[in-house]
């Protein structure tokens, strides 16, 4: 019964996908599903673009889907990937706990998953989990923030989405540095859910209650962009803002004298590595790497911002 259905569905998948991909690429290694959060955030778009480019170079077809940070939607996308007979799934997931079941379901269906950017709370289910060294990166950002603040002053922290391990780890990395400086005082700490709009709104409100702030440290660049816009609107361009991700938007703001610093995650390369490991795993049964792999981050400020392009530093 199960077999029959899978054969039927993979037939559907081939019929549905081939006409799109065949004319351009000699894709004969099968389909890789690339699932990320919404491409509204250029970080996730860079992941999808990087993974897709590498997959096509290696002879795969691709199916790009977004889960919008909704675990239910992610679950449906996994069903789609399974139904269409994907050979592998490259995933930036919708929650460290909620994703475990979906990845397990793919594994049970014989589809290996290669995770990027965000971890899940279990090992032994995904084949690879390749994540930025968020702790190391957050410490770099915090050291720069403390330096810019002159080791003293009131500051605000905008935290990412709480279901996401990266929100916690970055906050932890920030505080392991900042809390060692007794004259750095955190007057507000709120989640803006990685969102630019929420970053703007939260910053507006916080600023009204705490006009005496000197700096804002953010868990990602989109929240930093939102916070900076709110500070600009309030005429508070004296406030030091530091982000995390290394987006082109924040690069441009740094070069224009707005936001002061961010931390680059090598998102583009990370997505490519995931596809390379998928390819190697599918052909040899092993990636040759540990499941969980860390990639170091790089501090971006006025000195090197001009070298940043689409989540990669040019030489």
């Amino acid at each position: 019964m199960k077999l029959t259905r899978r054969h039927f569905m993979s037939g559907v998948a081939v019929a549905a996908v081939l006409p799109l991909a065949r004319p351009v690429f000699a894709a004969d290694k099968g389909l890789i599903a690339i699932i990320t959060p919404s491409h509204d955030n250029p970080f996730f778009k860079a992941e999808a673009v990087g993974a897709e480019a590498r997959a096509k170079e290696l002879g795969f077809e691709t199916l790009i889907m977004v889960h919008d940070d909704d675990p239910n939607k992610q679950s449906e996308l996994f069903d789609t990937a399974i139904a269409r007979g994907a050979k592998a799934i490259v995933l930036d997931n919708a929650g460290a706990d909620a994703t475990v079941a979906a990845v397990q379901r793919a594994k049970d269906a014989g589809i290996p998953a290669f995770l990027i950017d965000r971890e899940i709370k279990e090992s032994g289910i995904a084949v690879s989990q390749i994540v930025s060294n968020n702790y190391q990166g957050a410490q770099l950002g915090a050291e720069e923030f403390v330096r810019l603040m002159g080791e003293a002053g009131n500051y605000v922290e905008l935290v990412g989405r709480e279901a996401d391990t990266n929100a916690g780890i970055r906050s932890s990395g920030y505080h392991d540095i900042i809390d060692q400086y007794p004259d750095m005082v955190m007057v507000a700490q709120q989640s803006a859910n990685w969102s630019q709009t929420e970053g703007y709104e939260k910053m507006e409100t916080i600023l009204q209650a705490n006009p005496d702030i000197k700096g804002v440290i953010c868990g990602n660049d989109t929240m930093a962009m939102g916070a900076w816009a709110a500070l600009e609107a309030a005429g508070r361009t004296d406030v030091i803002v530091v982000g995390f991700d290394g987006s082109n938007d924040v690069r441009d703001s740094i070069l224009a004298g707005g936001i002061k610093a961010t931390v680059l995650q090598p998102a583009y390369r990370q997505a490519q590595i995931a596809v390379e490991q998928a390819d190697q795993y599918l052909s040899s049964g092993s990636t040759g790497q540990d499941e969980k792999q860390l990639m170091d981050c790089v501090l971006i400020n006025g000195d090197n911002a001009s070298k940043l392009e689409t989540f990669a530093l040019t030489a």
Binding site: A96, E119, T165, Q180, D290, E291, L294, M295
Partner: protein, 215 residues
């Protein structure tokens, strides 16, 4: 924020001892982690770090330690990759930097012991310029101590948070092991053993000492 993660940690340890506390797979730390289970990541990792410090961490440093002058010469003449392959320690995976264990001795050129990130700048090749920074802490940069340990593998830990707390706990132990003599240290001789991460050939060496004597 932290409050939100604590119940998760407690839950995963209480209900899923095998999945949540994978770390007990390693020899030895079982007693400490069980004892500290149900507390924070920070407390569990501090207990684990304490367990492995004398029996496992310090021996790895001593066993792999290379004279710093020899190591610097190798990096300078042959490059970072050959030096790393010969003496380095690093986890698997692309873009993981090399860590080195090294010993050395030299004259203290500059000492900043007032800062939270206290440092000694030491000249080990008698050219009058400092060539290594000894990180005394309590603010110690980086995760060299953790990443140089072949028996500490990220996959064995629940997530980056737990793994990060371990790095911090090891740095704290390094800091706690250091006692400095009173008074001006500049001009005195420091002999040390420790680890550092080297990302690029020309980068400054910021070593975390596991042993330090100043006289």
């Amino acid at each position: 924020m932290r409050d939100l993660f604590t119940p998760l940690a407690i839950l995963s340890c209480a209900l899923l001892p095998l999945a949540g506390c994978k770390i007990v797979k390693n020899p030895d730390p079982e007693a400490a982690t069980t004892e500290a289970a149900g507390t924070t990541d920070e407390a569990r990792m501090a207990a684990y770090a304490k367990d492995i410090w004398a029996d496992k961490v310090l021996p790895v440093v001593s066993e792999h330690a290379v004279p710093l002058t020899e190591l610097r010469a190798k990096v300078a003449t042959e490059g970072l990759e050959p030096a790393g392959a010969a003496y380095g320690l690093r986890p698997e995976g692309e873009a993981n930097p090399w860590n080195f264990a090294a010993t050395g001795e030299g004259v203290i050129i500059e000492a900043n012991t007032a800062s939270r990130a206290a440092k000694l700048m030491v000249d080990t090749d008698a050219d009058g310029a400092a060539d290594v920074t000894l990180q005394l802490g309590p603010v110690i940069r980086g995760t060299a101590l953790r990443d140089a340990m072949p028996f500490l593998t990220f996959t064995d830990f629940r997530d980056q948070i737990e793994f990060a707390k371990l790095a911090r706990a090891l740095n704290d132990l390094a800091n706690a092991a250091i006692t400095l003599p009173e008074g001006d240290l500049v001009g005195k001789t420091a002999s040390f053993e420790g680890v550092f991460t080297l990302r690029n050939k020309g980068d400054a060496i910021e070593l975390v000492p596991t042993r330090l004597a100043v006289k």
